[in-house]
């Protein structure tokens, strides 16, 4: 008996060590990825941003020159402005559209599954194919949008070739492809207890007041969440812009992410591209922080 206790303790101890060992063994792929694909590159990015490097030659240390250049670069400021305008448009209209559709779908309409599929499908197929599709849809002469506008007597703009209309055109396309938000909203709306809405109805609240005082506060955490993730996504969205306009016309649709890409892989200016990529990082951090600050005023947490 006296001998058995230490043995038991030892086996328990070694079992725990074995478990920890198994834990670290299993997460090795991720740890490796973390070091090689995330943390390493982040540190490297800071270093590279302080150099002048074209990949063909060896890097040359230039201190903060890339950041000074960036500060004086009108294209950087323009791309920053465009990115913010595009994000506000695409997140704003995307949330509003999807929220409205979710409200309609939440009326216990028949064929909910079919509708949900229709609104959700565009967000799944987004890629080169849909970018090409939208080039043809937004074509000033032969495109679908201007054809439809023509039916009601409106002469549509040049969209992707117009400095004024290129961002609205991209926003239109992004709203079409934002159906994953709808699925999240719908899940949220369905989670609101029916008794709450009924209570408001009995108290004589009309449909609009029920929406404003019950439904919206109840789903506000979900709206907030999709807003935060929506901005994180749209502030970095540039592959579609790269495909559709390459930032044109006259940089009117140049996005900060696209500018990073162009500097890195078209002008082979790796140092400057790395410095610019930190603007993306700061922009995302700032926009997220602002949303969290404002959230206190409008996001309602049940039981908090």
């Amino acid at each position: 008996m006296t001998a058995a206790i230490p043995t038991l303790a030892r086996t328990r101890h070694s079992a725990r060590t074995r478990e920890a060992l198994a834990f670290y063994l299993l997460i090795t792929p991720w740890l490796l990825g973390l070091l090689v694909l995330s943390l390493g590159p982040i540190l490297a990015s800071v270093g590279i941003s302080l150099t002048d490097w074209s990949l063909l030659e060896s890097p040359r240390w230039i201190g903060f020159a890339n950041y000074e250049r960036m500060w004086a670069d009108p294209v950087m400021w323009l791309s920053l402005r465009n990115t913010i305008v595009f994000s506000l448009g695409s997140v704003g209209f995307g949330l509003a559209t999807n929220f409205l559709i979710a409200l309609l779908l939440n009326q216990r309409v028949r064929g909910l599954g079919v509708f949900r599929t229709i609104f959700y499908l565009p967000s799944v197929v987004s890629g080169v194919s849909t970018a090409i599709l939208w080039i043809t849809i937004l074509d000033p002469n032969y495109g679908l949008v201007n054809y439809l506008l023509g039916l009601i007597g409106i002469q549509g703009p040049g969209w992707l070739t117009s400095e004024t209309w290129v961002i609205p055109g991209l926003v239109l396309m992004s709203v079409w492809g934002s159906g994953n938000t709808l699925v999240i909203f719908l899940a949220g709306l369905q989670g609101i207890p029916g008794s709450l809405v009924d209570a408001a109805r009995i108290d004589g609240a009309g449909a609009l007041r029920r929406l404003w005082h019950v439904t919206i506060p109840m789903v506000s955490p979900i709206v907030f969440f999709t807003m935060v993730t929506g901005f994180i996504g749209s502030l970095q969205a540039y592959t579609l812009v790269l495909l559709m306009t390459k930032g044109g016309p006259a940089n009117a649709s140049m996005m900060i992410g696209l500018y990073v890409y162009q500097n890195a892989f078209q002008y082979f200016d790796l140092g400057y591209a790395s410095a610019l990529s930190w603007v993306v990082f700061l922009l995302i951090m700032a926009v997220t922080a602002i949303q969290f600050l404002v959230a206190r005023r409008w996001v309602h947490y049940e039981g908090a």
């Binding site: 694909l37 990949l55 080169v128 194919s129």
Partner: protein
């Protein structure tokens, strides 16, 4: 409105009217959302003159079915398609294997620093891809992996935080009693994972498989940066090349696009339920 609300009979009527109005709006909305797809298909069947006609027709005047074979053979699209299948399959397998391993560890094993590591995992989801893009490119260039599929596939084998997080949530939802009962019966951890946890989290696995399929099939930036010779191109890259070369052949471009989208649309309809479950559960997805 207010007055009517108090009269029970009219309440029902109003509700009925509201529902009809909702229904009408939804039908109109659906048509608007479906129009681009319709446009894609009709454009793919138009003749060249028909495409460049002002004002445009919604439907083709005559059906040009040969746009499909003509577009498909204008560039080696069969090769691109096979390449896409290879890259997507390897990456998908990698995502599944690596995220199952990590998710199991985070859900079921205890070790020192586990919680800190999990917080780190969540934090890395916030890092914008732009910041790591250039250093990763340099890394793969130095490993002599440019113009190979390694940069497109290898990262998937190193565990994506989003998938790990998603699967961990599924694994956590399975009662630990099951594990313990099996442990007492003498089952190994591997066996518990294989015959208890994985079968019970099939929706989660399906969600990861589908998200990874879509992300890799649609991936454009990766192939654009890393692939050089045309025989390695994926569908996405081939399509972009085609679009760049043939600005006037909208009809053939749309025909090839329809074929490129077909696998995703097929998977979407087969596994819709898992898609939607994954999105509502994680609040993200597909990107």
């Amino acid at each position: 409105m207010r007055v009517h609300d108090r009269i029970p009979a009219t309440v029902a009527q109003i509700e009925q009217r509201q529902r009809t109005a909702s229904y009408l709006l939804l039908v109109i909305g659906s048509i608007v959302f479906l129009l681009p797809f319709l446009w894609m298909i009709t454009t793919s069947l138009k003749t060249r003159q028909n495409v460049q006609q002002f004002p445009p027709d919604l439907f083709p005047t005559e059906f040009a079915w040969n746009n499909y074979p003509d577009g498909w053979t204008a560039l080696p699209f069969s090769q691109f398609f096979v390449n896409s299948v290879i890259v997507t399959a390897l990456a998908m397998l990698g995502s599944l294997v690596s995220s199952v391993m990590c998710a199991y560890a985070f859900a079921r094993l205890s070790a020192r620093h586990k919680n800190k590591l999990f917080a780190l995992l969540l934090a890395t989801m916030m890092i914008p891809a732009e910041v790591t893009l250039v250093p990763q490119f340099i890394l793969f260039a130095q490993l002599k992996m440019l113009n190979t599929y390694w940069p497109l596939v290898l990262p998937s084998w190193l565990g994506a935080p989003f998938y790990i997080f998603l699967l961990r949530q599924f694994f956590m939802a399975i009662p630990r009693d099951y594990d313990e009962a099996a442990l007492i019966d003498g089952a190994s951890r591997l066996r518990i994972l294989w015959s208890i946890i994985l079968p019970l989290s099939r929706p989660g696995l399906a969600a990861v498989a589908i998200f990874s399929f879509v992300a890799n099939w649609n991936n454009f930036l990766g192939p654009l940066i890393y692939l050089r010779s045309m025989d390695r191109y994926t569908m996405a890259l081939g399509l972009q090349l085609f679009a760049g070369e043939n600005v006037t052949y909208y009809n053939q471009m749309m025909a090839v696009s329809v074929i490129a989208l077909a696998p995703i649309v097929a998977v979407f309809f087969l596994a819709q339920r898992h898609f939607i479950e994954g999105v509502s559960l994680s609040g993200m997805g597909g990107r």
